[in-house]
Every structure is written in structure tokens, then in C-alpha cells.
């Protein structure tokens, strides 16, 4: 049995975060040590408390209960207590005990800090992908975006809508690229707690670009005078779908290429 040790420190990256580092075996006898550590941490008045457990060898249910008390105290102050760095074995045991319903688990302190910045400071995160202009790669890109949205806590419905937007825009970018252009399609996804911004850039075929500009022109015709879409009409539906699913949608044209930008607000 390794002696349990707890140390309290303030994060040097985000001063509002206090890190409570646990080391060793935490059995029932170590409860007073845990409650002392929690008390000391709460004296720092943190907005966010990270229990760093990468050096923990075992943890008893009584200690977990003590941590739940610490979390409750943090929630009452408008903050949160999260757990970081647990080894797979202990994490599995805690999950079996249902602790994952109470605590958020993070792989390491950095991820926990990022989560704080995301949740409390509204920080956006960027993922950029450059991929070959080949249609068979679009489903992979779509799935990746959906996984990312789910990973960041977006609902299944929101994630599905986001992936549909990505699918339509990327398909267009590949299908309407300049013939023979070897340039990759550039996708960038900026995600924060409230919205996702999607930008797709490609080098467009001049003829297709002209058609796209035509589609994007504001239509002054009264809705009742517009020709009804026919069942076999294949073109222009993708963009209508993207417009319907996104909160904001615009297209920029330049000599370099076309840049499609869609914003989708989080609904759920």
C-alpha cells in the first residue's frame, strides 16, 4: 500500500482553477486526509477544481463519497469539481459504480483546463482539414465532423444537422472544382459551446462558379410567381438544404476560389 498524499496548487495557466493532486492508495482510512485536502482547496475559492489522479493506485467508495461532497460544495458556489488522469482500471471501476454520472472524467489536466475554458470562457476550438477532391472521401469528412460535435457535447440531432451541412458543402466543393485541379479542399470547423462555424474553400470551375453566383443572387420575384421545382430537378437543392439547416450562410467568390461559410447555432 502506498501512503496517500494530497497537494493543493493553483493552476499557472488559469488562476481560477485549483488542482488537487492525489497520490497513492486511498482507502477508507484516508477520508480525513481527503476532506482536509478538499477544505484547503476550497479556501482558494476556485471557480473550477481539478482532482488530478494519475498517480492514484486505488480509491475506495468512501473516498468517492467524500469527493461527491466536495463537488456539491463546488456546485453550490457555481463551480465544478472534475477528475483528471485516472488510469483505465480505476476509471472502469468508478464507471461501474456510476461515478461518471456525477463527475466529468478527463484524460489529463490540460483537457480539464480546456473544458473549463470552453464552458466558462466561451473559448472556440479549431479543427482544419485539407483533403483530396474525391467524392469517396466526403462521407469520412462528414462522419468526422459529427463525431467531433458529439465529443464536444452537442446532441445527436444537432450533430446530424452539422454533418448534413458539411456533406452538402463538401460534395459541392468536390463536384464543382476546376477540372483537373490537384488542389485539396480546405475545411475548417470552429466549434464553441453555442455554435459551429464551417468554412469550405475550393478552386471552382469558372462555368460552375457562374451558375453558383446565379443561384446566390437575391430573388426579387414574388414567391407565387417563382417556377415550382420539378421532381427531376437535380441542381440547387443542396444549397437550399444548407440554407435551411444553418443559422447563417454566405459564399465569397475570389480569383483564388470559392469560400462557403455556414454557421449553425446549438439548439439542444
Amino acid at each position: 500500500m502506498a501512503q496517500p498524499r494530497i497537494s493543493v496548487s493553483q493552476s499557472d495557466i488559469v488562476p481560477q482553477i485549483t488542482i488537487l493532486k492525489f497520490e497513492g492508495d486511498f482507502d477508507t482510512a484516508s477520508i480525513s486526509r481527503v476532506s482536509g485536502g478538499l477544505r484547503q482547496a476550497l479556501e482558494h475559492n476556485p471557480a473550477f477544481l481539478v482532482a488530478e489522479m494519475s498517480e492514484v493506485l486505488s480509491i475506495s467508495s468512501a473516498v468517492l463519497g467524500e469527493l461527491m461532497g466536495g463537488r456539491k460544495a463546488m456546485v453550490e458556489r457555481g463551480g465544478h469539481l472534475v477528475i483528471a488522469g485516472l488510469c483505465l482500471e480505476i476509471k472502469s471501476k468508478l464507471t461501474l459504480m456510476g461515478a461518471h454520472k456525477v463527475f466529468k472524467f478527463f484524460n489529463d489536466v490540460r483537457s480539464a483546463i480546456n473544458a473549463y475554458k470552453w464552458e466558462y470562457e466561451g473559448r472556440a476550438e479549431d479543427l482544419c482539414l485539407s483533403f483530396p477532391p474525391v467524392l469517396k472521401f466526403v462521407p469520412l469528412v462528414r462522419q468526422m465532423t459529427s463525431r467531433l460535435a458529439k465529443q464536444k457535447g452537442y446532441s445527436g440531432r444537432d450533430s446530424f444537422r452539422i454533418e448534413t451541412i458539411v456533406d452538402e458543402i463538401c460534395n459541392n466543393a468536390v463536384e464543382h472544382r476546376r477540372t483537373g485541379s490537384p488542389d485539396n479542399v480546405e475545411l475548417s470547423v470552429r466549434i464553441d459551446r453555442k455554435k459551429v462555424e464551417i468554412r469550405v474553400v475550393n478552386e471552382s470551375d469558372p462555368e460552375k462558379l457562374r451558375m453558383l453566383k446565379e443561384i446566390m443572387k437575391p430573388d426579387d420575384t414574388a414567391p407565387e410567381k417563382r417556377p415550382a421545382p420539378t421532381a427531376d430537378q437535380k441542381r440547387g437543392r443542396g444549397l437550399a438544404l444548407v440554407k435551411m439547416l444553418s443559422t447563417r450562410f454566405d459564399v465569397e467568390f475570389s480569383e483564388k476560389g470559392t469560400s462557403v461559410h455556414a454557421t449553425k447555432l446549438r439548439e439542444e
Partner: protein, 161 residues
């Protein structure tokens, strides 16, 4: 387009992103008719090199990792770049890659905590070539080449005699 295909993925230096990245690489390889076994082994390589890049190559919270992978008919190339880690980790990384013989796992320890990391050992075992380049400001880049494996009878649908 018949390839080779180049993908570049830039993502935040956060371990939470790695499952999304590894799955994307696996899907891309299978879309290029590499076997599920090959894709799974490549996933492990990606997992290890990305974990190292995030854990040891990102000193600021806003650091990002750039993964480039090129898919050829007979092989793939991965290259990962971080924004520069601390010199102690980089020295350990360089010595781990340089060593020709396979020393005891302790010699490959990359964790300062004393835990041994078999990450690079596993990558070396699964790939055909592994090189590390440390540039200015400790910017680290690791390149990995993995050749397409010969099709196994089960994969080709052949019945063994």
C-alpha cells in the same frame, strides 16, 4: 484522381481529440482499400504519436498539432508536428528513436513520473520506418512509413488447404 492522396489535419493539442483523429485516419485508409487489420494497426500508430505530441510537445494551452498523411498504392506515410516541447522530453525522444538495439523498457521511459512508456516501441514494431526531426524552438516532427501488408488468406477469402 488516382493518388497519392494527401490529407492534413490540424487539431487542438488536447487528448480528447485523438479518438476522432484516429477514426478518421482508419476510415480514410479503408476507403483506399487497405485492410481493416492494416487500418487498425495504423490507428494504434496514430494514437501513440498523437498522444506523445500532445503530452510532450504542447506547452501552451492553445497549442495545435498538425498531422499529415499520404496514402500511396503500396504504403502510407504519417508525419506529425507539434509546437515544441521541453528539452528534457525531446532528448529522451531522440535517444529512444536513435537506439538500434531494443533496450529495456525503462530506457524508453518518456514519463517523468517514472512510468515507462512503450509508445514508440509499439510504433517501431508496427511500422517500417520511423524518423524524428527536432527543429528550431524544439519543434518536433515524427515521420512514420508503413508498407501495405501482404494479403492474408482469410482476408482474400481463400480457404486454407
Amino acid at each position: 484522381m488516382n493518388g497519392p492522396f494527401t490529407f492534413t489535419l490540424k487539431f487542438p493539442g488536447d487528448l480528447e481529440y485523438i479518438p476522432v483523429v484516429r477514426k478518421f485516419v482508419s476510415d480514410a485508409l479503408q476507403a483506399n482499400e487497405f485492410s481493416p487489420k492494416f487500418a487498425y494497426r495504423s490507428e494504434i500508430i496514430i494514437d501513440e504519436i498523437c498522444n506523445n505530441a500532445v503530452s510532450y510537445g504542447c506547452t501552451s494551452v492553445d497549442a495545435a498539432i498538425t498531422l499529415t498523411f499520404r496514402v500511396f498504392g503500396d504504403h502510407i506515410e504519417f508525419s506529425i508536428q507539434d509546437e515544441g516541447g521541453n528539452p528534457e522530453h525531446i532528448e529522451k525522444l531522440k535517444s529512444a528513436v536513435r537506439s538500434e538495439e531494443r533496450p529495456a523498457p525503462e530506457a524508453h521511459a518518456m514519463h517523468t513520473s517514472g512510468k515507462s512508456s512503450m509508445g514508440l516501441e509499439i510504433v517501431r514494431m508496427l511500422c517500417d520506418d520511423l524518423t524524428v526531426h527536432v527543429g528550431q524552438n524544439n519543434l518536433t516532427s515524427i515521420s512514420v512509413v508503413k508498407m501495405r501488408e501482404e494479403t492474408e488468406p482469410e482476408e482474400a477469402g481463400e480457404v486454407p488447404a
